[in-house]
Amino acid sequence: MGKTLVDIKNLRVSFFTPAGEVKAINDVSLKMEEGEVHGIVGESGSGKSVTAYSLMGLIPYPGRIIGGTIDFNGHRINDMTEIEMREIRGNEVSIIFQDPMTSLNPVYTIGNQIMEVILLHTDKDKKQAYDRAVELLTLVGINEPKKRMKQYPHELSGGMRQRVMIAIALACEPKLLIADEPTTALDVTIQAQILELMIELKQKIGMSIIMITHDLGIVANMCQKIAVMYAGKIVEYGTADEIFYNPKHEYTKGLLRSLPRLTDKEHRKLIPIEGTPVDMLNPPAGCPFAPRCSSCMKICLGRMPEYTHLSETHYSACWLLQKEEFERRGQEA
């Protein structure tokens, strides 16, 4: 049992746009211990990235935390001032983003951008920062590190750029690394390399990782615990085994069903999840997945389902599970 690193309780985040209030995150709770790798899975707009940004206090305007608490490494994030947050960003918690090409500033050298974060959080001088940067580049598997230091982002390939992003993220040996869709913009073969690198580094440095993705295949290998998000809520949460071998939420089941399998003997049509994502400006009163759910019941349309705990680590928000409970209780009464 390690120390609790992240404890998010009943988080609510809304974006106050000219068109109205977009409830991006609607009561999300997450707990993570040191040394773990958690996955947050969901489609675009599910709120998975915003959850991560909340942790770093980087919710973009016009978003705001309107409820709940976030504890990280002994800090109460939502109570901290901007100056205090700057101390821990890049230092105790780092993030790497989806598109490494646009995430690096095109007019500064790689070396400049890595050294920037080192000089910011440590009291190393320029020479020491330079050496450390070269060291980091080697660590993330980039060859000819000294040459790379003088190059610009557009001179590097996609995979190399993402490695640079990782180098920047790890420069100050953070306790937590948040990876927001780190491989989505990369080729499949490079994807595997980057993920391998991340696991390797985790073991070397001993940090925790939150892996955010829409790709279930990625989290299967890496994550101990997985949270499945839909429309700003965690609809199912469990260990990797529980999610993959015993999914309880229709959405999770849908995601798993839609994965093409290598072991398929016959040709099979891909099974998508029917319907379109929820309009977050006017979220429905009931379960947000209801219109797309094949087992949708009348109650699903009108009322938000509560969490049903299936084990100590596994819970899901679905009326179907409640139905069994209800029937059972009804028989007992």
């Binding site: 019941m297 349309l301 209800f326 009804g330």
Partner: protein, 349 residues
């Protein structure tokens, strides 16, 4: 059997757990209608209050400039003895005398200049000149530029190379300098032409100055438009080629062509609309330094220039053309901006 405290305020019912039918589910799904490109663009433009207001202002200005002088009792070159340097709505002694006799004398709404010419009607004529120049010049630029650019883009290869080199050179030439030179020197051959060669007498009616301006614009200002049209044509060509290569059905190709053309049209409309205030700007500048349309035909620029002499005593003589020209240019700019926002698929601010 103690029931757990039910967190729900309402009691659950067995019927709640019946499966929901499709109708109920569909009511939660919001679908948006697809709209045609033009209708969508026009709708967006109409919603743009600033652009619509500017459009109204321009229409009013056009009425003012083209229809106003028809009804106004004075003409722009008419010099009324004894009515020099009148303030707005002021009557000269002669006119007061006439009024005393019972005759109706229309007031000089904006006063008169040092030669006794009514400022208001000169303002109208000046606006007419500006609007004419703006629109005609922009149409010329559109025609010449788009034909040139289309030819270069369509034929490609050596033709394109040579044509674009010429464009590069013209683009590099400092246009204002050449325009000034041309304005100063073209007068002579044009006048010669009008007076000696039969069939060119119309040059004198329109005015050598105006013709000069049009020639000069046609020679130099079309290069920007040519470049834009050429790049659009190249894009169009590429799309067609790709489509042909992929061997899609003809109807698809037509759709793509339709879409691409509407993209092209959007840019052309916006560019032409924004060329208008630019042309008006240039014309007023030229008139101000004295090489625009010839006296007695007024131009907003020349009116401003003449007003400087009496600036302390007769400030309105400056303010009237100044405000007028700024208003016209601003309105066209805002209309152009509005069109761009309405027809540009990329959402901006």
């Amino acid at each position: 059997m103690t029931k757990e405290k039910n967190p729900l305020s309402l009691q659950l019912d067995v019927s709640d757990f019946l499966p929901a039918d499709n109708e109920e589910k569909q009511s939660l799904v919001v679908m948006r209608q697809s709209v045609s490109f033009w209708r969508d663009g026009l709708r967006r433009f109409r919603k743009n209050k600033i652009a619509m207001t500017s459009l109204v202002i321009i229409i009013l200005t056009m009425i003012f400039a083209f229809i106003g002088p028809v009804f106004y009792p004075y003409t722009y070159e008419q010099q009324i003895r004894g009515s020099e340097n009148l303030a707005p709505m002021q009557y000269s002694e002669t006119e007061l005398a006439l009024k005393a006799q019972g005759e109706k004398v229309f007031p000089h709404i904006l006063g008169t200049d040092s030669l006794g010419r009514d400022t208001m009607v000169r303002l109208m004529m000046g606006s007419r000149v500006s609007l004419l120049v703006g629109i005609v010049a922009s149409v010329l630029v559109l025609l010449i530029g788009s034909i040139y650019g289309a030819v270069a883009g369509y034929f490609g290869g050596k033709v394109d190379l040579i044509m674009m080199r010429i464009v590069d050179i013209i683009y590099t030439v400092p246009d204002i300098l050449i325009i000034i030179l041309l304005m100063v020197t073209l007068k002579y051959p044009l006048e010669n032409l009008a007076n000696t060669v039969p069939g060119f007498a119309w040059i004198n009616t329109i005015g050598v100055g105006l013709i000069c301006i049009f020639i000069v614009f046609s020679l130099l200002y079309w290069v920007g438009m040519a470049r834009i049209v050429r790049s659009q044509i190249l894009m169009l060509k590429e799309q067609e080629f790709v489509t042909a290569a992929k061997a899609l059905g003809a109807s698809h190709r037509r759709i793509i062509r339709k879409h691409l053309l509407t993209n092209c049209m959007g840019t052309l409309i916006v560019t032409t609309t924004l060329q208008i205030p630019s042309s008006i700007f240039t014309e007023s500048f030229l008139s101000f330094i004295g090489i625009g349309v010839a006296a007695p035909m007024p131009s907003l620029g020349s009116m401003a220039s003449q007003a400087i002499n009496g600036i302390s005593s007769y400030p309105y003589r400056l303010l009237a053309p100044a405000i007028m020209i700024s208003l016209i240019i601003l309105s066209f700019n805002l209309i152009g901006d509005g069109l761009r926002d309405a027809f540009d698929p990329k959402l901006k601010d």
